[in-house]
Structure formats: C-alpha cells, structure tokens
C-alpha cells in the first residue's frame, strides 16, 4: 500500500532547478534510501514531502500523502526548543495529534523514550543542552514517532554524531520504522548506510534520478558501483625509506581543564612523509591534543617539539620559525577561509612567517605554485572563497598550509564535511603530498578511511594513546 507518492515533482528556487521530474512511491514498511551529494536535490525532495519548502520555492507535480509524515532532523539541537524540558516537548507532539490529557501525554512520551533507548526517568525533565548529541537525536526520533506517522523521513540524521553513535541511531530509526510498519525515507550522502539498511535505493544527481533499484541488485548499477568504489577508495602511496629525524616529537604531554585531566601523558613521534591517524569518540581530548601540538594552547606539562624545537619554549623569530614548519587544515571548509578575503590573500597569509621579507611578485608566485600543487588554477587567487565548492575550498585550505613549505600538516577532520567523491580526491592529494616528504597528523572519526590511508593509527582513550585500528598497509618501521 502506497503511503507517500511523488508524481513528477519539480522544485525551483528562482532560476535554479533543484529537483525535476522526481517520481517515487513509498509503500508501508519499506525502507528507501535517497542518496546523492551536496546539491543533488535530495533535501528538496524531503522538504517537498513535508510541505516545508522555503518561501520562494516553486513546486510542480504532486506529492500524495496517504498517512502522516514525520521528520527526524539533521541537527537535533536546532529542532528542539532550548527552553523546554525534552519530556514536555515530546508530550506536546503527542497532544498535537491526539486528545490525550497532559498526564496521558507525559506517560506516552515516557513510553516513547523507552522505545528509543533513553532512560525516561533520567531524561524526561532535562533540557536539550544537558543531553549528548546521541541522546538529543533519540529525543528527536521519539518526537517524530509521537505523531504515529505512516512515513518517517530522516534527512542526514547522523551528520552531527560520531561513528559509534551514528550506527546506533540509524539502527534505531530503521528498527522503529520496521516494527511499526512505517515507510522510511532515509536521506543521506552515505552509500554505506544505504547499503546496510535500505530495501531500495534512489540515486539523485543534479536534481534528477540517475539510478534506482532494489538492493542488493542496485549495487551493480554503473553509477552506484562507481560510488561504492570511491567509498572504499584507498589512495595509492609509494613506500619511501623512513629517514630523517622526527618532524613531530611529543613527550609526556599532560593537560586538563578545571581540575579534570584530559590528557595524561602523551608520547608520539612522526617522521617525514609519514601519515598518522588519531581516532576516538568525541570528548576524549583529540581537539585538546591538536591545540597543544599547534601551539594554540600551553600544556600543563610535557613538550611538543617540531623539528627539534619546543614550540612552547620559544618566542619571537624562533617561534615564527617553528610555526612555519607546521600548518593545519580544519574540518569546515565553509568557515576555515575568511569570506571577506580573496583566495590569493588567504593563501599568502602564512607567508608572514617566512624568514626573509618577500616581494609582491615573489608572494604571488608562491601562491600560484601552491594553488597549482593542490590542483587548482593559479587564477583562483583572484576570486573570493564563496565562489568555490566545499572540496575546492578544502584544496585552498591545503594550499594555504603548503605555501610555507611545512614539514608537518595537521588535519582536523579535514575530509568529514565532504561527500565521497570529493573526499577520494582530497585523500589522493594528501597521499601525493606525503610522498614528497610532508608528514601528516590526521584526526578523524572515519576508521575505514584512515585505516586505508595512514601508516599508523592511534586511539585516544582516557587521556592516553593506544594503538588504534590496524592499518591496511602497515609500513615496516626503519
């Protein structure tokens, strides 16, 4: 029985066509994955199903809803009212759809909390900010279930979560849908999720359905197969002899905040051309370790040596010299480039660390070299960051790091905001740069990716480094 049907639905924002001729029929109890990269139109489709398209969007065709449609949002913190206890919010959703009394609605929300694996007694009276990301998304799911929908739409429901929590939350959404006989439309850029949970998959690109089919057969369709290949993409790396002194040498690093110890004795070494991964769930101190390594914060004890100089014990010209040897690329390509600067100026910024003062021409030449090295045109220097896609911006961020010819580049979740195709390109680029002798310290949630890319992976747990996931290509030491 069809519960949600799209009949040749088109969505336009002014002149831009976001979705065209989109037809899809969802039957009760079915799990359909709608996959596609940024700008593929998948969010427009889910918003059209909910009747939530923004003002100014023109819609064609028809969306036929036979039952209620509920949504699990991408960022639960934004979907929940910060000033209301979560139990009351879910109870409100219950009352919006039934004649339940206040007390009955609260009982119902306690039951829903149990269904989504939350301890109702402990969580009902909390405010959203007092919950973890995973707990908040569970509340979001309880709220969606409260209206007893026939269709559940989950639009990138785990983007804000780490991989362990992601797996749990997705499994929860899928099992809740199957148990209640609801149709589930799982909107995601992650083909791996689709492969694991969906009955059927629809691949969108540029607003059109490119391929669609039942799983597992659909995995053999050419575009989906190509996506899978990129998903499992492992960059080619050329082994090079391990020579030279440590680029990064951390000894006995201890740090904490307000009496709470975050790092309790970290030792690590990185040699030229080596890629090291650092994994672990959120809140285990990965960011703290990075900030200490980058010299953005001073440790309580221990040393961080970059090419033999302790970054926390030098000042002035010596500090600038250490900084020049180490650069960073951050997670969010949208926020890591100043939107008011031209790309040329952004990439040139670290040249302030260059030992000699450079002429305007010399700076322009270095910027052009760096841009070409990351696969961009030298003319990109003239444009503002807003003109580039996420992947291109991450290349610009890499060019900014490369312009001072560093020995070490720290990557802070540098590929997690990118879709699979772009991520594969950036990983190839990083692998190629490592072959030229640059060492990388890569902090990430993506175990599969780092296992393929890195020479070594550590896991940060209870303030200490322990050997993490085995790498696919362990390199002989020495």
């Amino acid at each position: 029985m069809s519960v949600l049907r799209f009949d040749r639905v088109g969505v336009r924002y002014g002149d831009r066509v976001a979705l065209r001729e989109f037809s899809l029929d969802l039957a009760a109890g079915e799990v359909v994955a709608l996959i596609g990269g940024t700008g593929s139109g998948k969010s427009s489709a889910s918003l059209a199903a909910l009747g939530l398209l923004p003002e100014g969007a023109a819609i064609e065709g028809e969306v036929v809803r036979t039952g209620r449609v509920a949504m699990v949002f991408q960022e639960p913190l934004l979907a929940l009212d910060p000033l209301m206890r979560v139990g009351a919010q879910v109870a409100e959703a219950v009352r919006a759809r039934s004649r339940a009394s206040r007390a009955e609605a609260l009982d119902e929300s306690a039951r829903l909390f149990g269904d989504v694996g939350l301890d109702a007694q402990a969580v009902l009276t909390r405010y959203p900010h007092e919950l973890s990301g995973g707990q908040r998304q569970r509340v979001g799911i309880a709220m969606a279930l409260a209206s007893k929908p026939a269709v559940l739409i989950a639009d990138e429901p785990t983007t804000a979560l780490d991989p362990e929590t992601t797996a749990q939350v997705i499994a929860l959404i899928v099992s809740a849908a199957r148990k209640r006989g609801m149709a589930l439309l799982l909107v995601t850029h992650d083909l791996a999720l689709a492969r694991a949970h969906a009955d059927r998959v629809v691949l969108l690109s540029g607003g059109r359905i490119v391929e669609t089919g039942a799983l597992p057969g659909a995995l053999a369709l050419p575009h989906i197969a190509a996506l899978l290949e990129r998903l499992d993409h492992v960059p080619v790396r050329h082994p090079r002899p391990q020579t030279g002194a440590s680029v990064l040498s951390v000894r006995g690093l201890i740090h904490g905040y307000g009496g709470k110890t975050v790092l309790s004795g970290i030792d690590l070494d990185l040699r030229p051309g080596e890629i090291a991964g650092l994994v672990g769930p959120s809140g285990e101190g990965k960011s703290t370790l990075l900030r200490l390594v980058l010299g953005l914060e001073t440790p309580q004890a221990g040393t961080v040596q970059i090419a033999g100089t302790d970054i926390h014990r030098v000042r002035g010209a010596a500090l600038r010299d250490v900084r020049r040897r180490m650069q960073a690329v951050f997670q969010d390509p949208g926020a890591s480039l100043d939107p008011t600067w031209r790309v040329g100026r952004i990439v040139a910024e670290p040249l302030a660390l260059w030992p000699e003062s450079l002429s305007r021409e010399a700076i322009a030449a270095r910027v052009a070299t760096a841009l070409v090295r990351v696969g961009l045109e030298a003319s990109a220097a003239e444009a503002f960051p807003g003109a580039f896609s996420g992947g291109q911006r991450q290349r610009i961020a890499l060019a900014r790091a490369l312009v001072v010819e560093p020995a070490l580049i720290v990557l802070d979740e540098a590929t997690s905001a990118l879709d699979a195709a772009v991520r594969a390109e950036i990983l190839d680029l990083i692998a190629g740069l490592a072959d030229t002798g640059i060492a990388f310290l890569f902090v990430t949630h993506d175990h599969a990716m780092i296992a393929g890319l890195a020479d070594r992976v550590w896991r940060l747990s209870e303030g200490r480094l322990i050997p993490g996931v085995p790498t696919r290509r362990a390199r002989p030491v020495q």
Binding site: L294, R323, A328, F330, Q331, D338, W341, P350, L351
Partner: protein, 271 residues
C-alpha cells in the same frame, strides 16, 4: 526577497528625499533662512513661498531644507563618534574576554541605563545648549549600542577556523582583529548604523524641540516644531511640514537598515 527589495527602494527613496535637499541647502536655499521679514509673516503657500512663511516671515521651504542639513550633520557626527568609540570597545571586549570584557560591557550597561535626555541636560549644563552638546549626548547614548553589536558579531568570528589559521600564521591578536574580525562584522555594523542614524535624527529633533539642541537662529526641524507649538491652531502647516520631514527621514533610514539586514541574511544564507 521581494519585500527586501521593496523596502530597499523605499528606504533609498525616502532617504534621498531629505538628504538631497539638505545637501543643496548647504550651497543654496530659495530664501535666506536668517532673513526676517515681519511684513510677510505667517503667509500661506504661494508661488513666492511654496510652503508659506513662519511667524518671523522666514521661508518654510528654506528652513526645512537647511534644518535637514543641520539635523543630518548632528546625526552623522554623532553616529561617527559613536562608531569610533563603540567599535574598538566591542572588538577589545571580544578579543580579550575575561575581566576586560566584563568591565567594558558592564560600563556599557551603565551608560546604556542612563536616560538619553538626562545625559543631554547634563551636557548642556556643562557646555551650554547647542549642536555640540546634542551631538555628544546622542553619540554617548549610541556608544554602548555599537560596542554590543560589535562584540556580539565578533565573538563567533574569533572562534572561526580561519582565525585559528591566522594564529598559526603568527598573526597577533591586534592584526587578526583588524584584518579578519573587523571586515566580518562590518555588515551588521552598517545595518545598525543606519537604524541608529534614524534614531539620532529623532533624538536631535527632540533635543532641539526641548531647547537642548540647536539654538536659534540656526534652523532645525525640532526648533521649527517648537516654534509652531503655540500656533498649532492657526497655522498647523508650520508643525506638519517639519513633522513630515522627520517622519520621512527616520522611516527612510530605518527601512534602509532593515533592507540591508535582510540582504545580509540572504548573502549569509548562501555562503
């Protein structure tokens, strides 16, 4: 989007409606605004005097044009002074946080809590009433507004990764504040400045009306209103003309600010 476009056009049109005559009045007015001609007092609109004359026989059109210039001058000087003081305070507070931030912002709160009119009375007691004390009072009143807007807009910028990248490039806090943070808060500041500009015009008119601002014989919309007060029964035109001028100017600047804010939100949304 359409609404934003409409209020941008309306805002620009209304603003031009008082700015252009005010600028013209700097060089030329139909009649000398200080020339008193008692024989021609309280005339209605005519070909000679398009908006008639006031109790001293002065040309109302010339007065309203020149008065706009004075009001505009006071408003622009006040907002410029407030920006010059408020923006650095907000930037420093956002850059240093901690007790410096607390101190500056509590200081701003105190200034903010101080009624503007009381401040103006105090200043005119010190400096004597005039355009200077009106400008200073309006400026001081606006310092905390700009300090807060700057600080509020700057705080998220300081935690942006591009600021971390600038620190890795060895930039000092001062350099980062000037080159990264300031350009990123200029949008909201322009919006706020145009809205506060409207409020400043209103403030100047109010102070001059109360006798605390521009002094005769210098023309000003507030003074014109004050002069018209006793004649409201016999010559309502004398109050209506400057009244419409004030409403137009304030509405124009406020609409302009709103439209700029909407435009900025759209651009942010796209980025």
């Amino acid at each position: 989007m359409m609404r934003g476009r409409a209020s941008l056009i309306a805002g620009l049109a209304l603003t031009a409606l008082f700015v252009v005559p005010a600028l013209v009045a700097l060089a030329w007015t139909p009649w000398d605004v200080t020339a008193i001609d008692v024989a021609a007092r309280l005339q209605g609109p005519s070909a000679r005097h398009w908006l008639g004359t006031d109790p001293f026989g002065r040309d109302v059109l010339s007065l309203v044009m020149a008065g706009g210039g004075v009001s505009l001058g006071v408003a622009v000087a006040a907002i410029a002074t407030a920006l010059a003081l408020g923006v650095p305070i907000g930037l420093i507070a956002s850059a240093r946080r901690g007790w410096i931030d607390e101190g500056l912002m509590r200081g701003a709160d105190v200034l903010f809590a101080f009624p503007g009119l009381l401040l103006a009375i105090l200043l005119s007691a010190v400096f004597g009433p005039g355009a200077f004390d009106a400008t200073l009072a309006i400026a001081l009143f606006n310092v905390p507004v700009f300090a807060r807007v700057t600080r509020g807009a700057a705080l998220p910028v300081w935690s942006a990764p591009f600021v971390a990248a600038a620190r890795l490039a060895g930039r000092s806090r001062l350099t980062i504040a000037m080159t990264h943070v300031l350009p990123n808060v200029i949008g909201p500041l322009i919006v706020q400045a145009s809205i506060q500009g409207g409020m400043a015009l209103l403030g100047e008119a109010g102070l001059s009306f109360a006798g605390l601002g521009v002094q005769p014989p210098a023309p000003s919309w507030g003074r014109m209103l004050a002069d018209a007060q006793t004649l409201i029964g016999s010559a309502p035109r004398l109050a209506i003309v400057p009244g419409i001028a004030i409403v137009t100017a304030v509405a124009g600047l406020t609409l302009l600010g709103d439209a700029l804010a909407a435009h900025l939100r759209i651009r942010r949304g796209r980025a």
